[in-house]
Amino acid sequence: MVHIRNINFTYPDGNQAITNLSLDIEEGSTVAVVGANGAGKSTLLALLIGILAAETGEIEIAGISLKKDTLEEARRRVGFVFQNPDDQLFMARVSDDIAFGPRNFGFSTTETEDMVSKAIKTLKIEHLKNRSSHKLSGGEKRNVAIAAVLATDPEVLLLDEPTSYLDPKSRRNLIHVLETLPHTKVIATHDLDMVLDLCDRVVILRSGEVFADGRPQQLFTDGKLMDSCGLEVPLSLQNRDLL
């Protein structure tokens, strides 16, 4: 579903964020991309949706080779949930925001209404449909942002820090929602406990390169490996003396 071959990306200030990175992600899998700050997680997601363009290498996502002239089609098939939902929610009303994508992709009024209703039902946010976007709580905004992306019926979901801004209960609800989604999911996150609950594979980045790739349980218990990537063993796997 996602094939990345030898991509490189350097920011204008000279910071090489991605170095010769290759990765294959199977259809229907949920893959976490973790790493310390500046490891290249968000850059990788931005490259996958074509917000940034790789200097070298190839990206194929949802059956489309990512190029300038295929970006529109790729964005039809790939949904990107931004780290800050405030960047994403732009319309005054929740229902209008969710309908924004389907309308742009040329769906008819009836189709758009159906897609909006389906996305709202999936996220269980019927009560928010007619609310003003700016008056929602952090958790509600996050759910609406995901619904807005789901409404475009993507094949691949890219999520940048989906549990940031969320209280523990909202975080737990979000994990349950993501569990139920059949899409191929790529999640950039610092929330390693969520990765343990949700993902069947984790890719650890260090300085823009794939440092480790495997099952979360297996990699997260390797203290030495975690430490060398600037990460910590997740709380749920630590033996802690609380008293």
């Binding site: 917000i51 960047d87 319309m91 924004f100």
Partner: protein, 266 residues
């Protein structure tokens, strides 16, 4: 509550008012837009000394606010922002046009003073009409009707995106001002030496924020053209409302009802 938070709430409250369910809210946006334009043209067309003829036109905003359940305070407080501009625009008139027009309770009133009052009344009426239109019609519906009325798309997009972005910008300013005040002791306002850096930071943040919002829109298929929800068809009632209100407004233009009523009692 800071003034910025207050401004933000004001913008949002007008937006929320437009989601109402009154008889005025239910009218087709095109009908409301046309009547507002006709009303404004009629108001502006009055002679600069013809104050008495304009008085009956106050009925329109009063009725619209009552039927649309718009709090008077929310419209009047916004109106205050526009008033100083018109006041200063007409302030020189009493000095240059000193000829006495009428004597009011023994006090001479010059033509210049009448024209100043006329400018203020015209401002009050036109600004109120626009505020009422915005408070009873969501911005996206209004924009879609502007495009339908053949206003250039680029122009409508600018209005709509500016209106949307205003809230985000004020939020950004509010956060920066709060962060500044928390570290500036008892000092009020932003010191002049910091103002340049503050504005520079705001500009950079504003660019960054605008870029993120734009990218999020691009990721959801935005290609530079805003696609509005299909508007509801214009009903018979909308036609009736438009024609009736426009006729009454035009009638007020040609018949001075103030004088007519005055002559009845005189």
């Amino acid at each position: 509550m800071s003034k910025l938070t207050e401004s933000l709430n004001k913008i949002n409250s007008l937006e929320e008012l437009s989601e109402g369910n009154t008889v005025i809210h239910k009218l087709h946006p095109m009908a409301k837009m046309i009547t507002t334009i006709v009303y404004m043209v009629v108001v502006i067309s009055f002679d600069k000394y013809d104050i008495s003829a304009m008085i009956p036109l106050f009925l329109y905003p009063i009725l619209m606010m009552s039927l649309g359940e718009i709090p008077y305070r929310s419209v009047l407080s916004r109106l205050l922002i526009a008033l100083p501009f018109s006041f200063f625009a007409g302030l020189s008139n009493p000095f240059f046009d000193r000829e006495i027009a009428v004597s009011l309770i023994g006090l001479p009133v010059s033509y210049g003073f009448l024209s100043l009052i006329s400018i203020i009344i015209k401002t009050v009426l036109t600004v109120m009409a626009v505020l009422i239109l915005i408070a009873t019609t969501p911005m996206d519906k209004l924009s879609s009707q502007l495009i339908r009325a053949k206003v250039p798309k680029m122009f409508v997009m600018q209005i709509m995106l500016t209106y949307r972005y205003l809230g985000l910008l004020i939020t950004e300013v509010r956060n920066m001002v709060t962060a500044y005040h928390l570290r500036s002791g008892r000092q009020k306002g932003i010191r002049l030496v910091h103002a340049g850096t503050f504005m520079g930071q705001l500009l950079l943040r504003s660019f960054e924020r605008a870029e993120k919002v734009y990218l999020a829109m691009k990721c959801r298929g935005f290609d530079g053209e805003y696609r509005f929800a299909a508007s509801k068809p214009v009903r018979l009632w909308d036609y009736c409302y438009g024609i009736l209100v426009c006729c009454v407004i035009v009638l007020f233009r040609f018949v001075n009802f103030s004088l007519l009523i005055g002559s009845l009692f005189g």
